[in-house]
Symmetry: C2
Subunit: 339 residues, 2 copies
């Protein structure tokens, strides 16, 4: 028989016990990840590289982790959100320069014919990108991009694009940062576009975004104040080999961990993995047609227009010791808004 006083004590301790239980449950830094090879690889990597005395210990200043964005941190189907942004900017562009209404590819975009727009060749898309991403001051661009990001909605989930980030990747970035890693986005997307939301969306400040970037031009306004204008001149094509080249240029250190999802990330993962000591290279496989999309070797959907997850990439991953993350099997939850 339990003495009365103990009973009272246990009841009094109940909230404390519940608190401890919940605190213990919360010690899992990756609650949206299922237990498995991918989660284990991450935790092992972080423990080995941050435990003083461990063979794989990495000094804090060297702790760099790089993340591709489209398809790695957020949804890239059916179209990169930045491509959506550029198409959405065309009417305003044509209003400012009416002569463009009769010129391809602007004529097709203005027609609103989605099928024809989807069929525009890469060269035409590049023309649209150049026209909608240059010619304004950097402040004007940022304001326009932020306005669009506030208002635009993804066609499937009817939510702002910035809500379509993957919760498990957000947890992974926080976990790495809590362990002294600086997290960088290294994206084939536009550096300025991503910088417009990276801090609010991922906690990644502008100086830690490396992306495809055009030149800017310094000039003076009528009031004598200087400003920078976005020029239609490519400075850094941050895809494929451009990723390690961009990392070297902007960071000057080799990452210890890198995350991607397509052939555009291949060289970044190779370069990361080729460094001394323990390195982590991971590829996200989109194999969840139900909760998100399935494409690449998962064959549920065709590859995206640019970076594709090919069989050759899959084979290189096996050979070089990269870990493939299965969206379907490794992730409990994909989006924060899921019930």
């Amino acid at each position: 028989m339990v003495p009365r006083v103990w009973k009272r004590a246990s009841i009094a301790a109940l909230p404390l016990l519940l608190f401890i239980g919940s605190a213990l449950a919360q010690t899992d830094p990756l609650p949206s990840w299922n237990d498995g090879a991918a989660k284990k690889a991450i935790v092992d990597f972080v423990q080995a590289t941050t435990t003083q005395g461990s063979a794989g210990f990495v000094p804090p200043e060297e702790r760099i982790a790089t993340f591709d964005q489209d398809g790695t941190l957020w949804v890239e189907h059916p179209m990169y959100s930045q491509a959506m942004y550029c198409l959405d900017r065309v009417p305003a562009l044509v209003k400012a320069k009416p002569e463009l209404a009769k010129v391809e590819p602007f004529k097709t975009v203005m027609s609103g014919n989605r099928e024809a727009i989807a069929k525009l060749p890469l060269k035409d898309l590049e023309k649209i990108l150049a026209a909608t991403l240059s010619g304004m001051t950097v402040d004007q661009f940022r304001a326009e991009a932020r306005k669009w990001l506030d208002e635009a909605r993804d066609p499937r989930w009817k939510r702002p694009y910035t809500e379509l980030t993957y919760l498990p990747m957000q947890e992974l970035m926080k976990y790495l940062r809590a362990n002294g890693y600086r997290t960088y986005i290294v994206t084939g997307g536009g550096q300025d576009f991503v910088r417009a939301y990276s801090e609010a969306t991922y906690g990644i400040p502008p100086e830690q975004v490396v992306g495809t970037a055009g030149a800017t031009k310094y000039g003076y306004g009528k009031d004598g104040k200087p400003f920078l204008t976005k020029e239609p001149k490519l400075l850094l094509n941050d895809n494929d080999a451009g990723k390690p080249e961009g990392i070297y240029f902007m960071i000057g250190r080799r990452p210890y961990a890198a995350f991607g999802n397509s052939t555009g990330d291949r060289q970044m993962l190779e370069y990361t993995k080729a460094g001394d000591g323990m390195r982590l290279a991971m590829l996200l496989l989109h194999d969840d047609a139900k909760r998100e999309y399935a494409y690449g070797p998962a064959k549920g959907l065709p590859n995206t227009q640019v970076g594709a997850f090919t069989q050759a990439l899959y084979d290189e991953a096996s050979k070089d010791g990269w870990i493939v993350i299965s969206m379907k099997d490794d992730w409990k939850k994909i989006f924060a808004f899921e019930p």
Copy 2:
């Protein structure tokens, strides 16, 4: 008469009192600066921008300070140390490619005729820079640069170049960092060259060095391992308008404080000063022919080959509210090695 017990107490307290006195003396964060307008401007700026509730308060993530290097953080006379490095590399280059021995400007450099070398036109210097700063892997370059920095000595002080940094500027950088500022080097010099020593010399990590940079090229060795090779292709000319352009590209934020010493820093200071709120722009005037050098409007020496402190720059400083630092009057001590 002092009671005996008090006497004993005072003697016992003496070390403590001495400690407090020395702690109070140490609270001057800029001990190598004389009291004056320059020192006051720095302290006022830091207090206003870091005091919560102050009109000029700047959130920690926005606290960026940019420093030119040559002539601002260390000695640039009689020649940029990087130019010395490139000239010193020519014999090794000619040994590897003997055909260069008969070709200008390498022939002149190999002659050892200092007068003729000093007279080489800019175009020839650029040829030497391109030849000695490209063609090797980035790791080879870093190793060569570090070896040279260890061994080379400045002709006047007979010390490594990395000891010729200005103590007051080192104190200034530490003071800013202690107040949450991230300090960046924004140099017309080579980004890779400066990154080879910036962390050890200034406490500035490679990712906070923006400099003139060439492209790199990703490739694979015989062992299949990837590496980056330095290419003779200019990616960023980080001088003049290239400084704010480079800052926007690499950092994506406007600095709150910027420091320079020549016309090559003009646009960086203008751009900094044109931002909202309280901004600090400072120019170092080399007017101390005895302890260092005097040039520019100080007229003790001719202007250096590239960035010059002209009268026009001096006038813009007065008009735009930049603070001119007089090396002679504002600095108690110039180098840490001074007695």
